[in-house]
Amino acid sequence: MSYAYLFKYIIIGDTGVGKSCLLLQFTDKRFQPVHDLTIGVEFGARMITIDSKQIKLQIWDTAGQEAFRSITRSYYRGAAGALLVYDITRRETFNHLTTWLDDARQHSNSNMVIMLIGNKSDLESRREVKKEEGEAFAREHGLVFMETSAKTAANVEEAFINTAKEIYEKIQEGVFDINNEANGIKIGPQHSPTNPSLPGAGGAGGSQGSGCC
C-alpha cells in the first residue's frame, strides 16, 4: 500500500449540507440517507491514481455546527485541500459561503486548494441556488466549482480527484513546499526494501528544527 504522495483534505460547510455523506460515498461507495450529526471531526481515507501515481487521500470530515467551529479550525492549517460544501436546496447554506471562505483563508496556509461544491444535485425540483450562481461565486473567489450528489454519486469521485489534481499540479509547479508537512502533503515512504525496520524514514527527514520560532 505504498503511495507517491499523501494529501490531507478537510470538508467544511454548514450543517446538513451532506459533508459526511460525500465522504462516505467517496470512501465506501454507499449512501446513508439518515446520518448522525458529526461530532467534532471524523476521519476517512482512500487511494486514488493521478498521472499513474498512487496518491493517498486522508480526509477529515468536520462538524458543520457552530458549536464545533473552534475545534474544526484546528484542522485548517495542516490541510492541502478543502471541499467547501453548500446545499443547492437551501439558499442560506450558499449565503454563508463567504463566512466559511474567510475563515478558511484566515486559518489555512495560502496554497490550500479549495473546491466549491453544490451538493444534492439530485433534488432538482427543490433547487434554490442556480448552478450559474455557484459558478459565479467560484469564479469571483478563485475556486474550482462542481455540483455533486452524494446520493447518486454524481461527480463525487470527480470532486475529490480534481482537487487532488490541482494540488498535484501545484506541486509540479513548485508552489508547495513538500518537505513541510504543515502543508498537508507528505511524500510516500521510499520503496527501498533495504530498511525494513523503518518504513517511514523517507518522508520525515526534512522537518527537523521547525519547532524553533
Binding site: 476517512g44 495542516g78 515512504p189 520525515a204 527537523q208 519547532g211
Partner: protein, 773 residues
C-alpha cells in the same frame, strides 16, 4: 540555599537587627517590589526570590503574588529571565505535589492548595493563552518552564485546561511543535504534557493525531532505540495509547496511515535476547506495545475496523512475530501472558488469522501445535493463574465464530481409525474436565463449551464421544459423565463449569436433553438444588444454574423420555419447587455481581482463582434463554392468577405497580372517551333533526319555484305572442280593450307596446328572484 539567601539579602537589604522577618512578611515585601519597582533588574530579582520561596511559602506566595505574577507575564514578556522565574513560581504554587520544604513548614495544611491556585489561575482563560504563547519563545528559560507550568495545570484541572486549549487558536499545534524540539528535556516534558492533555478527550486526541503525532512519535521511538529505549519510548507509547483508546476515528487513521506496519518490527525479538535478558524498562515498553495492538483490535471496537486491523496485522507479519514470542524461551511470564491475550484478540472472529494460528507449531520434539502446548499450560496447576486465564481467553478467541476450528477440536475426541497417539486438544480438555484440580475443571468446561456455541452440528458430534471410565466397565458418553461428575464433585467452581458446559450443550439440542434426562439421579439433583431454601457463599449461583438447566429440559424437550415430558417436568417444577421459588432462583443469577462482572467483556478478568465462577458467553446465553424458559413454563399464566403481591420480588412488584398505574391511566382515558362519545351522539341527533327540517323547507321552496316557473311560462308565452305574431294579438287586445278605457286605434297600439315593456320588466324581475331562490 546559600545562593537563595544571598539573593534574598541583595533584594531585601541586610536583615534589620533583632528578629528576622517572617516568611509572610518577606513574601509581602517581595510582591510589592515586583509590582512597584520601575527598574527591570529589581523586578527580576524580586521574582527570583519569590521563586526561591514558592515551595516553602507556597500559600503566601500564591495568595499574595498570583495576580502580580500574571501581570509580569504580560508586561515583561520581552525579558526571558523574569518570565522564566515567573513561570517557575506559578508552576510551584499550582503543583499538585506536596513539597518537602512545605510539609515541614505547614503541618496542618489539609486542603490541596495547588488545585485551588490552579483554579484561580484558570479563572481567566487568557492566562492560559498567554502561557501557550510562551511555547513559541525559543529561549530555554521560557519554553521549558512554560511546558512545566502547563503540565502542572493540566494535572490539577484537566477538563478546564482541555477546554481552553481546544478553543485557543493553534493551541494544539504549538504543543505538537515541541515534539521535534532538539533539546530533549523540553521534548520529554512536552510528551508528559501531551499524555495528560489527551486523557479522555476525543477532540484533542483527533487534533493531535491530525498534527502528525504518530509520525513524530515514531521518529522519537526510533531515535531512542525502539523497545530497547528508555522511559521516553514508554511515554511515546503511552501517548499513542491515549490517542487510540476508544477513538474509532484515530484507529482508522492509524490503520490508514500504515502505522501498524511500523509496530511489527518492535515484536521481533533479537537473537541474543536470552543472553542479554529483559531489562525492566524493556518489559514496560513491551507491555505498552502489546496494549497498543490490543487497543486496535479490542472487541469493543466496531467489527469493521477490527477486521481491517486484524488483516493488516497478519499481512505485516505482526501476528507471526507475536506467535514467535509465544514459542520463544526466556520470555518473562507477564509478557508471555499479555502476548497470549494479544494473539487472542488479533485472531478473534477472523477466520484467516484463526487458521494461521491453528497451524503454528511449537519447536518441541516432536513438534506440537501451539494450541496444544498452550492448553497444556491451562490444565497445569503449576502454571501462574493469569497465564492460565490468558490461554483460555486465547482459545475462546480462536473458536469465536470459527465453525471449522470448533469442528477440529471436537474431531480430536471422536473415535478415529488412524492410530494417532499424539496429544490432542480434545484429550487435554477431557482430562482437565475430570481432573482433581477444580480450576482445571472450570477452564476445560468453559473451553469445551466454546466449541458448541451457535454450532448445532458439533453439539450432536460431541454426543458421540464415549469415555472409558474404568477398566472393563461399559464406556459412557461424555455428557453422561459430566452429569455424574456434577453430582459427585464437591467444588462449587467445578460444578458451575460443568453446568455452563451443559447449558451450552443442551440449549436448542433435544438429543442432548434426552441423554441428560436418562442419567440416573440427574433430575433429582437439579430438583434438590433448585428447591433448596438456604445457601451460603455464592451457592445461589449453583441453584440458579440448576434451575436454568431444568428450564432447558422443559424448553428443548422432544417428549421422547417417558416420565420426563414437557408436561411432566413443568409439573415437577410447579409442585416440587414452586413457580415462585423457581423464578426467584433464576432471577438471582442475573442479579449477581459475578454475573454483571462476567457479562462485561469477553476477556476473563479475575485477580484470584476463586473469582472465576461465570463466563461471558454463558451470560449471553442465559440472557437470551431466561425469557424463553419462563415462557415455556407458562409462568405468565400463573403470575396473573393467585400470586399475591407480597410474594413477588422487588422487581416484579415494581413491574406490577407499573401495570396497575397503566391500567388506571387507561381506565381514566376510557371514561373520558365515553363522555366525549355521549356528547358527540347528542350533537349528532341535533344535527339530524336540523337536517330533516331543512330538507322539508327545501322541498317547500322547490314547490314554490315550480309554481313560479309555471306562472312565468304562462306569462312568457303571452309576451312572446305579442312580439312575434300579430294574429294571436287580437284576442289579447280584446281583453286589453275590456280592461283599458276606450282609446282610439293609434293610441291603442302605443299602449300595448308600453304594456309589453312593463311585462318584460316584470319578467326580468321574476327571473332575478328565481335565481335568488
Amino acid at each position: 540555599m546559600d545562593y537563595f539567601r544571598s539573593g534574598l539579602k541583595s533584594v531585601l537589604g541586610a536583615p534589620s537587627t533583632g528578629s528576622l522577618p517572617t516568611g509572610a512578611e518577606t513574601v509581602e515585601r517581595l510582591v510589592s517590589r515586583v509590582s512597584t519597582s520601575t527598574l527591570l533588574e529589581d523586578r527580576r530579582d524580586a521574582c527570583r526570590a519569590l521563586k526561591a520561596l514558592s515551595k516553602k511559602y507556597r500559600l503566601e506566595v500564591g495568595a499574595q503574588g498570583i495576580d502580580v505574577l500574571r501581570q509580569v507575564l504580560e508586561l515583561d514578556r520581552s525579558d526571558p529571565e523574569i518570565i522564566g522565574y515567573c513561570l517557575d513560581t506559578l508552576c510551584n504554587i499550582t503543583s499538585k505535589e506536596v513539597f518537602e520544604e512545605e510539609s515541614e513548614n505547614n503541618v496542618n495544611m489539609k486542603v490541596n492548595v495547588g488545585e485551588q491556585f490552579t483554579e484561580m489561575f484558570l479563572k481567566n482563560s487568557e492566562n492560559v493563552t498567554l502561557v501557550l504563547g510562551f511555547l513559541e519563545e525559543y529561549d530555554f528559560r521560557v519554553r521549558w518552564p512554560a511546558v512545566k507550568l502547563l503540565t502542572s495545570l493540566v494535572v490539577s484541572k484537566p477538563k478546564e485546561i482541555q477546554d481552553i486549549i481546544l478553543v485557543s487558536p493553534m493551541g494544539v499545534s504549538k504543543l505538537m511543535d515541541l515534539l521535534v524540539e532538539n533539546r530533549e528535556v523540553i521534548r520529554n516534558d512536552a510528551l508528559l504534557l501531551l499524555i495528560n492533555l489527551t486523557k479522555s478527550n476525543a477532540n484533542i486526541q483527533k487534533i493531535v493525531a491530525f498534527e502528525n503525532a504518530f509520525d513524530r512519535l515514531f521518529d522519537v521511538i526510533n531515535e531512542e532505540g525502539w523497545t530497547d529505549g528508555g522511559i521516553v519510548v514508554e511515554d511515546c507509547l503511552l501517548l499513542m495509547l491515549n490517542l487510540l483508546k476508544n477513538n474509532t476515528s484515530n484507529i482508522n487513521f492509524f490503520k490508514e496511515g500504515s502505522y501498524i506496519q511500523k509496530l511489527s518490527p518492535m515484536f521481533v525479538l533479537p537473537p541474543n535476547l536470552e543472553e542479554v535478558g529483559w531489562s525492566p524498562q524493556k518489559v514496560s515498553n513491551f507491555h505498552c506495545v502489546l496494549q497498543l495492538v490490543r487497543t486496535l483490535v479490542s472487541p469493543n471496537n466496531p467489527v469493521q475496523i477490527v477486521t481491517a486491523c486484524q488483516k493488516t496485522m497478519r499481512n505485516s507479519n505482526l501476528l507471526e512475530a507475536l506467535c514467535n514470542i509465544l514459542m520463544a524461551s526466556g520470555v518473562p511470564a507477564d509478557i508471555l501472558t499479555e502476548t497470549i491475550n494479544t494473539v487472542g484478540e488479533v485472531i478473534r472472529g477472523n477466520l484467516t488469522n484463526q487458521e494461521y494460528f491453528a497451524n503454528v507449531l511449537a519447536p518441541s520434539n516432536p513438534p506440537r501445535p501451539a494450541i496444544v502446548v498452550l492448553l497444556m499450560s491451562m490444565v497445569n496447576e503449576k502454571q501462574p493463574f493469569a497465564l492460565r486465564c490468558a490461554v483460555l481467553y486465547c482459545f475462546q478467541c480462536f473458536l469465536f465464530k470459527n465453525e471449522i476450528g470448533q469442528g477440529l477440536v471436537v474431531q480430536t475426541l471422536l473415535p478415529s481409525n488412524t492410530g494417532n497417539t499424539a496429544l490432542t486438544t480434545g484429550q487435554l480438555l477431557c482430562s482437565g474436565l475430570f481432573s482433581n484440580d477444580h480450576l482445571s475443571n472450570w477452564f476445560s468446561a468453559v473451553a469445551l463449551s466454546h466449541c458448541l456455541i451457535e454450532n448445532p452440528a458439533q453439539k450432536e458430534q460431541l454426543l458421540r464421544v464415549l469415555l472409558a471410565t474404568n477398566l472393563g466397565a461399559q464406556p459412557v458418553s461424555l455428557l453422561h459423565q459430566c452429569a455424574v461428575f456434577l453430582q459427585h464433585t464437591s467444588k462449587l467452581q467445578a460444578k458451575l463449569g460443568i453446568l455452563m458446559l451443559l447449558s451450552n450443550w443442551m440449549a436448542h439440542c433435544p438429543q442432548a436433553v434426552k441423554i441428560f434426562l436418562n442419567v440416573p439421579g440427574a433430575m433429582a439433583f437439579l430438583t434438590a438444588q433448585t428447591s433448596a431454601s438456604e445457601y451460603d457463599n455464592n451457592e445461589e449461583l449453583l441453584q440458579g444454574l440448576c434451575a436454568f438447566i431444568m428450564g432447558l429440559c422443559v424448553a428443548f424437550n422432544d417428549n421422547s423420555v417417558p416420565n420426563y415430558s414437557k408436561e411432566n417436568l413443568s409439573q415437577l417444577i410447579e409442585k416440587r419447587v414452586g413457580i415462585e421459588t423457581y423464578c426467584k432462583k433464576l432471577g438471582e443469577v442475573s442479579r449477581h455481581e459475578v454475573y454483571a462482572k462476567a457479562a462485561k467483556q469477553p476477556q476473563i478478568k479475575a485477580k484470584h482463582s476463586t473469582e472465576l465462577l461465570l463466563e461471558f458467553e454463558f451470560c449471553k446465553l442465559f440472557k437470551v434463554l431466561e425469557g424463553i424458559i419462563i415462557h415455556a413454563l407458562g409462568v405468565q399464566r400463573d403470575l396473573s392468577n393467585g400470586i399475591s403481591e407480597l410474594s413477588l420480588s422487588e422487581h416484579e412488584n415494581a413491574l406490577l405497580l407499573q401495570y396497575k398505574e397503566l391500567i388506571r391511566d387507561q381506565d381514566k382515558k376510557l371514561q373520558d372517551f365515553q363522555r366525549k362519545l355521549n356528547n358527540l351522539q347528542k350533537e349528532k341527533e341535533q344535527l339530524e333533526s336540523l337536517s330533516t327540517e331543512l330538507k322539508e323547507r327545501n322541498n317547500e321552496f322547490s314547490d314554490q319555484i315550480t309554481l313560479l316557473k309555471a306562472q312565468l311560462a304562462a306569462l312568457g308565452s303571452s309576451i312572446n305572442g305579442t312580439e312575434t305574431n300579430t294574429m294571436p294579438l287580437i284576442p289579447y287586445t280584446a281583453t286589453l280593450n275590456t280592461t283599458a278605457s276606450q282609446t282610439n286605434e293609434p293610441n291603442h297600439q302605443d299602449n300595448l307596446l308600453e304594456r309589453i315593456k312593463q311585462l318584460e320588466k316584470e319578467k326580468a324581475e321574476k327571473d332575478a328572484e328565481l335565481e335568488k331562490n
